[in-house]
Symmetry: C2
Subunit: 240 residues, 2 copies
DNA sequence: CCGCTTCTACTGGTATGACGAGTTGTGGCG
DNA sequence: CGCCACAACTCGTCATACCAGTAGAAGCGG
């Protein structure tokens, strides 16, 4: 049907090298920490110059697949979710800056995810978890006159709630999304005496979690985030 | 308290350059497509060699922030969620390969997200959406003897369900997570005549969505994914 | 014989210069 | 006025050289 619209664009050498290295990494069963061939050896093996090798290596390193240190050979990196999130942050900032529609959708997605984590938390919470949440709440209360600190505690609360599920993926996602949005609304989030409202809503969530009522917890979270989103929308300036 | 445990590691030149470029990109209000200074100009401006500039550029390019073409100057890239997901796939593959605990947590996270999208779909679906879902269901039924095609249709169904919310972020996430897991279980997912069961469960989800019953839709999705996860666990071989 | 220090060989990091190849805009020719 | 060829950019790649950091081997002292 479609007459093969594939654009015959010239592939960069480093792309080819990266692909081969990637295949070798995935096929060969290496464990994190295992060494890879040195740049010189690779340029001899593939018959390309050092720049091509270096660029490929650099890309793999920035993806978090390998780690290159100065005097040592490249090594397979240990997988780390937190580095992944950090790397994503740069890209998300770019996306959020230049595409207005994404921010609104990200807020909606956050509601979906965090109402889910609230449900899980209400089902799985232990007494230790509740104590931890109340402790975080108390700390946030103490920080109510320090906007930056207050916001940090706010993020801790949401991440901790997600963490009750014991699911690192979920808590990482919650944390990452919070950070992205905070970076865009650090001033808007807690302007002029809304700290009290935020704390009340957090307390309502904790109460529902303590009661072991998933639906009530989900609703409390939804109200909290919906209210917050409305405020975001109102003060629509991206700072920094 | 802690005696400043900051490790005074030598920063690479390209890191410094990358940081400055990043700042300049974020501060200066450029729009996608706008040109950045050429490599030669930058090496003159920062007083470093071309390799340092190139490595920094390369990293920004692999993050999707800028785009470098052969005869043209670097330009600010248009933000694209799909490229972001593709880039994530490489990293996630690495994480999933070398950390057994993440896969299980990813499955749980998927349940949280997709029960949420099912709820949304039940609330927001139009008659056109329902028609689309039923069409996808029919196509998947036709492909029940072609495992690869069947799995592709399966992903289409889940993504379409998430897409009913009109939220590109959610549908992208759903699609991405599905792809990651499919890559790890392409053989396990649809082994030996479970296509019929999958289709039945999909139909149950569609029925609940059609009825406009969010809780029933969420429960149907949860049952579907829980059942599927049990199968994943059973056939625990990562292929390829 | 063991432990510490030193030294050396190998590694990545950076600079320079050169050339090839692709893109873009300009100027001249028809 | 429109088309085309050329020129002036750009990135892509190579080769070479040297600096700097790491790690393991060799040597020393106990």
């Amino acid at each position: 049907m479609t007459p093969d619209a594939e654009p015959i664009r010239r592939r960069k050498l480093s792309d080819e090298v990266r692909e081969r290295l990637l295949a070798q990494i995935n096929e060969g069963d290496l464990r994190p920490g295992d060494p890879l061939p040195s740049e010189r050896e690779l340029m001899a093996r593939y018959g390309v110059g050092r720049p091509a090798i270096r660029e490929a290596m650099q890309q793999l390193a920035s993806l978090g697949l390998i780690v290159v240190r100065h005097g040592d050979r490249p090594r397979l990196a240990a997988p780390r979710l937190d580095l992944l999130a950090e790397q994503l942050a740069l890209t998300m900032r770019h996306v959020l800056t230049h595409d207005d529609t994404i921010l609104a959708q990200l807020k909606e997605a956050r509601i979906v995810i965090e109402t889910g984590t609230a449900r899980l938390a209400a089902q799985m919470r232990t007494s230790a978890d509740l104590e931890h949440l109340r402790d975080l709440l108390a700390r946030q209360l103490l920080a109510r006159h320090d906007p930056a600190e207050f916001m940090r505690r706010d993020g801790d609360f949401h991440a901790a709630l997600a963490g009750i599920s014991g699911n690192v993926v979920l808590s990482s996602v919650v944390r990452a999304v919070f950070d992205w949005m905070a970076r865009f609304h650090s001033r808007a989030v807690h302007s002029s005496g809304l700290e009290r409202l935020t704390l009340d809503e957090h307390e309502a969530i904790v109460a529902a979690v303590a009661a072991g009522d998933p639906e009530r917890a989900a609703r409390a979270m939804q109200d909290h985030l919906t209210r917050a989103n409305a405020l975001y929308r109102q003060a629509s300036v991206a700072d920094n």
